[in-house]
């Protein structure tokens, strides 16, 4: 039986991980390589590296880091941030990324998902959607959640899948950062229309939120989080043991 995936997300700026505190036995918490390896050793099923570097010059630094990660850690790597065209896909795939996550780039360039899926395969293209409730419907937000595009999120996701997206990451802006649990209502709406795996993001504050997520919505394939892992609030090993104790299939190492 396929297991539910636990995915830590690392924000990388100018080659360093943003956020993070002291981890036992870890020399450099800001090193994407060290932190990625730490998570992998603790049982992370996949890693997401999000490049929040603003300048073009520093992007090269990110690809160097990615290469180092890919030569040290042998679990799937997803890369996002600043993916606007096929050149960006090419750049990160050559450095060892397995999947590429598109967000604003797909809004700016409506052909991006289709073109990328055609060239690299559906399995390579992850559509990441920042969504928020507006007047009772879910709308897609751009620019890191600051700008309402007016696009209906469910329509957008359907279209993305039709164009070749092989996975959906749903970040609920409404629950993000609140640490009160995942946005089960929004996730259910997405699961109901999605024929591809759905990754839940935004709102995890403790272990029980993951149990609640997978128990309530068995169709959700994975849970993604950043700060609770970076600040050591949740240990992946404890999380997976608890999920298993609750009858949720996980990979234990």
């Amino acid at each position: 039986m396929i297991s539910k995936r636990i995915i830590p997300c690392l924000d990388v700026k100018n080659g360093r991980v943003v956020k993070g505190k002291n981890f036992q036995g870890l020399q450099d918490v800001s090193s994407p390589v060290e932190l990625g390896k730490y998570y992998s050793d603790k049982g992370a099923d996949e890693l997401v590296f999000y490049d929040i570097t603003a300048s073009f010059e520093n992007r090269a630094l990110f690809t160097d880091i990615l290469k180092e990660v890919a030569s040290t850690i042998f679990i799937p790597l997803t890369v996002g941030g600043g993916i606007n065209d096929l050149t960006d896909f090419d750049r990160v795939l050559k450095c060892g990324a397995d999947k590429v996550s598109v967000n604003s780039g797909a809004i700016k360039n409506p052909n991006l998902i289709y073109d990328a899926a055609k060239r690299y395969g559906n399995q390579c293209v992850v559509l990441s959607v920042d969504a928020k409730r507006v007047d009772g419907t879910f709308k897609v937000f751009a620019k890191g959640g600051r700008e309402n595009t007016g696009i209906d999120a469910l329509e957008w996701i359907k279209r993305g899948i039709d164009n070749g997206a092989g996975e959906i990451v749903l970040n609920s802006i409404d629950t993000d950062g609140v640490k009160g649990g995942f946005d089960l209502e929004m996730l259910k709406a997405v699961c109901d229309i999605s024929s591809v795996p759905v990754i839940a993001s935004g709102g995890a504050g403790n272990i029980s939120h993951f149990v609640e997520l997978f128990k309530t919505l068995p169709k959700v394939d994975a849970g993604l989080a950043a700060s609770i892992f970076h600040f050591g609030e949740v240990e992946i090993k404890d999380l997976k043991n608890t999920l298993k104790a609750n009858g949720i299939p996980v990979r234990l190492i």
Binding site: M1, I2, S3, S71, F74, I75, N122, Q123
Partner: protein, 204 residues
């Protein structure tokens, strides 16, 4: 010399790195002359079957791989690389493969319940067939490996060495004498995956 067959589909960086991690040198090449001398061949691949087999044929690499396989050189196909070893595939039409594994490649959606998602993405457990294959000598039944695929090996019962459960029993790995294929990605399956590559490297 272990050669990763490079025929222009997909990125081989992680795959090459995973061999380095277990202390094995590999050569990445798409040259016939290099593959003709290979002591072991890795056949990777992502994307569509017809593109991949077309590119192999274009470069004449299909014949070299078949020749080496017949000479007893260990071959390991990974993901689409495994599928290429089969007689044929029904991905977007009907295409002939290398014919090193008896059977054909068919869509997962034909055999799994409709509420399950395609691609089959994620970590799933391996169930070995009765006799444990030497490529799994360092593994335990139920070890998890990473899958990402929409098609699977069908009608290949005599070659199946491991299966996985995803609403149906799917082919996870096959072998025919010295020819091996994994539907999952050993190079993305953590320590378990590296143990598979190690076992393959140790084959004569």
């Amino acid at each position: 010399m272990i050669v990763i067959c490079d025929y222009g589909v997909g990125n081989l960086y992680s795959l090459a790195s995973s061999f380095k991690a277990i202390g094995k040198d590999v050569v990445i090449s798409g040259e016939k002359s290099v593959l003709e001398k290979a002591k072991k061949i890795i056949l990777p691949g992502v994307g569509a079957f017809s593109d991949a087999i077309g590119k192999l044929r274009e470069k004449g690499l299909d014949r070299v791989i078949i020749e080496r396989a017949n000479l007893g050189v260990p071959i390991l196909g990974i993901c689409l690389g495994m599928q290429l070893l089969f007689d044929k595939s029904f991905e977007y039409g009907e295409h002939l493969g290398l014919g090193l594994i008896k059977g054909e490649i068919r869509p997962i959606k034909d055999v799994i319940p409709s509420d399950l998602k395609v691609p089959h993405i994620g970590w799933n457990a391996l169930n070995f067939s009765k006799e444990k294959s030497p490529i799994f000598k360092y593994l335990n039944e139920g070890d998890f490996v990473y899958f990402i695929h929409s098609y699977y090996g069908a009608n290949c019962d005599s070659s199946v060495i491991a299966t996985t459960e995803y609403g149906a029993t799917l082919t996870a790995a096959v072998s025919n004498k010295n020819v091996y294929g994994c539907q999952f990605h050993p190079e993305k399956s953590g320590e378990v995956g590296l143990k598979i590559l190690k076992a393959f490297c140790e084959m004569e």
